[in-house]
């Protein structure tokens, strides 16, 4: 029989094009990026235990003060905000908030499963965007 499992494509392919599908892909992508960042981050900030020289050396090594590095630091904040806010949405869904009661599937089917979650999704994304706009002002408009 043909193997219909998606394999690595299943990490990215979200099926039909509901916004939730794209968020699924982005959540996974940002999750993996954060694990990689966290691992390097723990090693870099650990240098502080070995004194001022080690710390300042580590900060030079990662390019503190370099505008390109600063830009990537902002991208990191974007990744964090997206994963955090979307994660909050997923936790609310898991706990059963906003998704309505289960019902007998009688035609025409009520759109209960997205009636509240969909607006919630946009509200959360707007909140993330507001934080990110404030962060952009901090990163690029205020003197460092």
């Amino acid at each position: 029989m043909k193997d219909r499992r998606l394999g690595i494509r299943g990490w990215i392919y979200g099926g039909k094009h509901n916004p939730e599908r794209f968020l699924y892909t982005l959540h996974r992508l940002t999750g993996v990026l954060l694990v990689l960042y966290l691992s390097v981050h723990i090693l870099v900030v650990g240098s502080r235990a070995f004194g001022q020289e080690a710390w300042e050396g580590a900060m030079r090594l990662v390019g503190l003060g370099n505008p390109v590095v600063r830009f990537f630091e902002y991208l990191l904040v974007v990744v964090v905000l997206f994963h955090a806010v979307n994660g909050a949405r997923l936790i609310l869904g898991e706990l059963g908030f906003t998704i309505g009661r289960p019902r007998r599937p009688i035609y025409p089917y009520p759109k209960e499963s997205i009636r509240k979650p969909r607006p919630l999704l946009w509200i959360l994304m707007i909140l993330a965007a507001v934080y990110l706009a404030f962060a952009a002002y901090n990163f690029f408009a205020l003197p460092a």
């Binding site: 723990i42 235990a49 710390w55 962060a135 205020l142």
Partner: protein, 119 residues
């Protein structure tokens, strides 16, 4: 489907991280909240490293982020056909990496705190 304890803890850690991570990002990356380069000067690093509430927050954060991150990584790895029959091996490998990072983070945080008379 009923989920295991591991998944419940993943969500619980996620909820904790929501607060800790947003606080952490604001504190260290946003100039308006004292973040940016000023927060990375040695004197600022040392002030935080010797503060007991800060150290406690760091350690809770460290454990929650590593658990959540590596459990999440395991979950997506075991979806792959190659790892389907090797779930225990994936869990083991991922746990070892997480534990090593945790011990290193714990050591570097506590070493400075205890050395600096923060005890």
């Amino acid at each position: 489907m009923r989920e295991g304890l591991g998944w419940t803890l993943h969500l619980l850690a996620g909820a904790f991280l929501f607060i800790l991570l947003l606080a952490h990002v604001s504190q260290l990356h946003l100039i308006s909240f004292g973040g940016g380069e000023q927060a990375l000067e040695w004197s600022a690093v040392l002030t935080r490293a010797l503060s007991r509430p800060q150290v406690i927050a760091y350690l809770v954060f460290l454990a929650a982020a590593l658990y959540h991150g590596f459990f999440g990584l395991r979950n997506l790895l075991i979806e792959l056909p190659v790892f389907r029959r090797r779930v225990a091996a994936v869990t083991f490998t991922v746990s070892i990496i997480g534990i090593v990072l945790f011990v290193y983070g714990l050591y570097t945080t506590l070493a400075l705190y205890l050395q600096g008379g923060g005890a």
